[in-house]
Subunit: 310 residues, 4 copies
């Protein structure tokens, strides 16, 4: 296996990894498959970051829980000070009395303050005055979280499920196809491709090595159609003279960093993609997903995976 | 037609388009003329993005509708539980009763909570407590949307309606003029120009080709006056030896990516512009739009289109 | 006057300016001295931008006016519908009645809603319900404006009032001194210097020309002390062989673009500075403004202008 | 001591510092050890910046103080106008009367407005109307501050407490280890290293000099594991032929600027690190902190400092 002309790159950030196999650095969803240990949960995570990236269901559950918890907390305080310091309450049982405390609490927390129930006396007034302020601040935090969730620049790059190895300019090339799933405008889109692969060294031992995969086009000005990224398998490619059987044993992972500038929000966005060796199809080529109607070009995202064997 | 010295660029992101004609990639308003199909509305659009870029009229209609819808929803709930659980209501008909529910609902949603009407009993109290919280969150979302709309870095580049082909340094040049319509300061403004054009190949067939158009000056430090961008039609230009008649048949589109740094908000901004072949005027030159008064330079935007035939 | 070796740059963005004199492109406060005409106020300005960059006094006046105007507007509506539809009002004159409407309006707008006065009947309820919602939205806009004003990355670069021409490495150099006035950390600070100057051409006519002024150091990693920017007056400098008398007639303006990365808010920031010919002092050098106390270095900003004649 | 081949860099921004010793430019916590004098507190600091970077304890103390101060201020105003203009108050002593004013004030400031106490008459109504508006704006400012604190891109780079000098490729190298303490994804991480050191000049006097330290790898694509930065001590290194004893007298400080792109919030982040000469351990090497479990790679942050003497 001649690899003396390939460009071995050790700037992936992975190069101190051993020959351990079956590990995927970048998961199918673009997240990174590395765990950090040796420190507390709060040192590892920023609570804000967790609440921004979590699902909407979990986020809403979280804020409802906070709302409920604060209301119960303050309701208990009002109840302990004595329900008789709440003017206008109306109850026939201790449970009812607590409920009146609870609803007075929620009216204070949200600052709706109907006033049927109102605080009388120093203790309850201090607590109510504090709760209204705490409520206002918690709501401020929720406002910030909601804005943070909405305004985060989201780029959703859809990749073809498979990369293909196909004929290309009197040789072979590895290709995969990406498309911007959103109707946003991405400018100056570029890809940087790294290969992590097991290769036999001179003494026949499999060792993990890292390469940069060169592409015909590294950057496109306007990423609005689909983009078939092409890595020509020339002499300086680590895939040069590699067979389908070699690939199977290689535990290869192709790691792609996609970068672009999102025009609407004027922000740079990054996205990680990855193909494992079993996701590479030999002797196939992608079918076009671009159609023309009248004066408009259309891209059919549902056909992104479509290829044909050649 | 000698094109062997031109620089053909395939990094526009359009190069897999066929020879289909009359299609404009970039619309006159700077939006991109590509449609994505094969996925649901919600996958294609981010609701936040839609609400940020839509017109103010549609945005206000949207938030009023949300406000009304929530009020009706909660009013129905109060009405179903029973208007007798709302203390202080005052009605002589079922319609009046529902209206009292509706206005109680709006007083709760906005947290104004006058208190003439106030919730009594478990059911209504739970709903009211929920509505006040939902109201607070919806208002938080509106706050974020309003901020997002206002704070979006808006660069408004006005281009001359026509590009011209004029005499320039013993030859010809294609020129167009741009100006920053806002009184903001743009630093490090640069243009990148691509040409999409039909050209006859050796066998006489028209094929779509892509070129980079070089400019005399690619980047200016301070974009505060008007900028006449100059593409000299030298031997390596795709317009070399092209006649007005050739241009008419070419289905050419000049696509311009404008980039700059907006000083006030410290953000990079992008803008797309485009000229079709019928918008190019031969043998014309732009008239100056810069005047001097005392110690000030002024730019007259109303004269941006002004040119004279030479 | 030998200028054949100088580097003439036409990428300032000013090069289509004539030989008009006494015009300053960049004002002493860093703003740009260009006026745009030929379009309406609203096309030229973004209201958001104006409200972000205006003084605090004007901003507070603006929001108080908006608050007052809305309250008067709604008060008039309540008054016209009839004060008898406001439950709990208490008045002995028409003026008192209007005041009750006004204060009810402000209680609704701010959502304080005490409830002593409360809406009764369809008309007033609809208006009140609308006012509470409008109030909530206006407050949302104010929240966004306040955040926008606070969070705008502010870099305040103080420059020495004068640039000096001094001895430097067996020759002369033009120097000026800048310092970051804030206690923030600026990384990767760089300057780009342009000269706009009247020069005699071969036929003795004064023409405005543009040059780039080279500096010994263009970029510093950490801009935390003062930075004396040095332009060596070598053979390829436009100041080569220029005398103090030449300078006086030159109508020269040195325009400096300062760029840096602000660490706390992770943003790139730009700042414009300028020196006119009469602000250049010949045969002077700056005095140090750096002191050492124990283990700390201190920079004395009050001495930034200090120079001595040599 | 041969230094003629080293690369002396004067673009650190520190080069006008004298030979003063024991001064650390970058503190252990990454803050910069420079003080600015000669201007007022408010010119030096932006209040927003101070409130963003201060601790949570101080921030909460600040906002509670503001809340209390405004409530007392307005309470005094209501009390001076006369408690009889507050309808519904209930008091038996002057102290009680003031407390009623205070709680009415807090109900107005937070817009909770229960309404048991409500303003009657022109004076109190004007003050209350103003307080509600001021309250709303102060809360808006708090909302912005809370969002600003949460959303600030925080990168927490943990460095090994010591740098080591170890064997490397038939020579020596200076190494230190960094890791991203958070579970965020950092792309395109790079380091820039400067050395500030006292060196004997030809006449035997110790002078402070500045160098750039070259690294084997300057930039890594994905910074998710630990990164051992390697500066090979070749002939062009300022450490060439330096002994442990020389190092002790050198007052050296290695200053590291770390830059990366944070994927979640799409922002560039900077971080400063520093090692003083006494933090450099000779003839030691770092122990690995990477483990493999099933299909996952883990980094143990608690072992970042671990090295062994060789």
């Amino acid at each position: 296996l001649s690899t003396h002309k390939t460009i071995e790159k050790d700037n992936t950030g992975f190069s101190n990894l051993s020959t351990h196999t079956n590990t995927r650095m970048v998961n199918a969803d673009g997240s990174i498959n590395v765990v950090k240990i040796g420190q507390s949960f709060f040192d590892r995570y920023s609570l804000y970051r967790v609440l921004i990236v979590t699902s909407w269901a979990k986020f809403i559950l979280f804020i409802l829980t906070v709302y409920l918890a604060f209301n119960v907390l303050f309701a208990v305080m009002y109840y302990l000070i004595g329900v008789e310091h709440l003017g206008g309450v109306n109850f026939s049982s201790e449970a009812d009395a607590f409920l009146e405390c609870f609803f007075f609490s929620s009216q204070t927390f949200t600052t709706v303050g109907y006033g049927r129930i109102s605080p009388i006396g120093l203790g309850v007034n201090i607590i109510a005055s504090l709760e209204a302020f705490v409520g206002v601040l918690i709501i401020a935090v929720f406002t910030g979280l909601l804005y943070g969730r909405f305004s985060r620049p989201v780029v959703k790059i859809i990749k073809s499920s498979n990369a293909v190895i196909t004929n290309h300019k009197n040789g072979k090339a590895l290709m995969f196809r990406i498309v911007n799933a959103k109707n946003s405008v991405l400018s100056d889109a570029e890809v940087e491709i790294r290969l992590s692969i097991l290769k036999e060294d001179s003494s026949g031992i499999m060792k993990r090595r890292y390469y940069e995969l060169k592409t015909e086009i590294k950057k496109i000005t306007l990423f609005t159609l689909s983009w078939t990224v092409v890595h020509p398998i020339t002499e300086d490619s680590p895939f040069w003279e590699m067979t389908e059987a070699d690939m199977e044993k290689s535990d290869a992972e192709i790691i792609i960093l996609f970068r672009a500038f999102e025009d609407t929000f004027s922000q740079n966005v990054n996205s990680w993609l990855s193909y494992k060796n079993h996701e590479i199809v030999w002797n196939a080529k992608f079918k076009s997903i671009i159609d023309y109607q009248d004066n408009t070009v259309s891209v059919d995202l549902s056909r992104i995976d479509a290829y044909e064997i050649i």
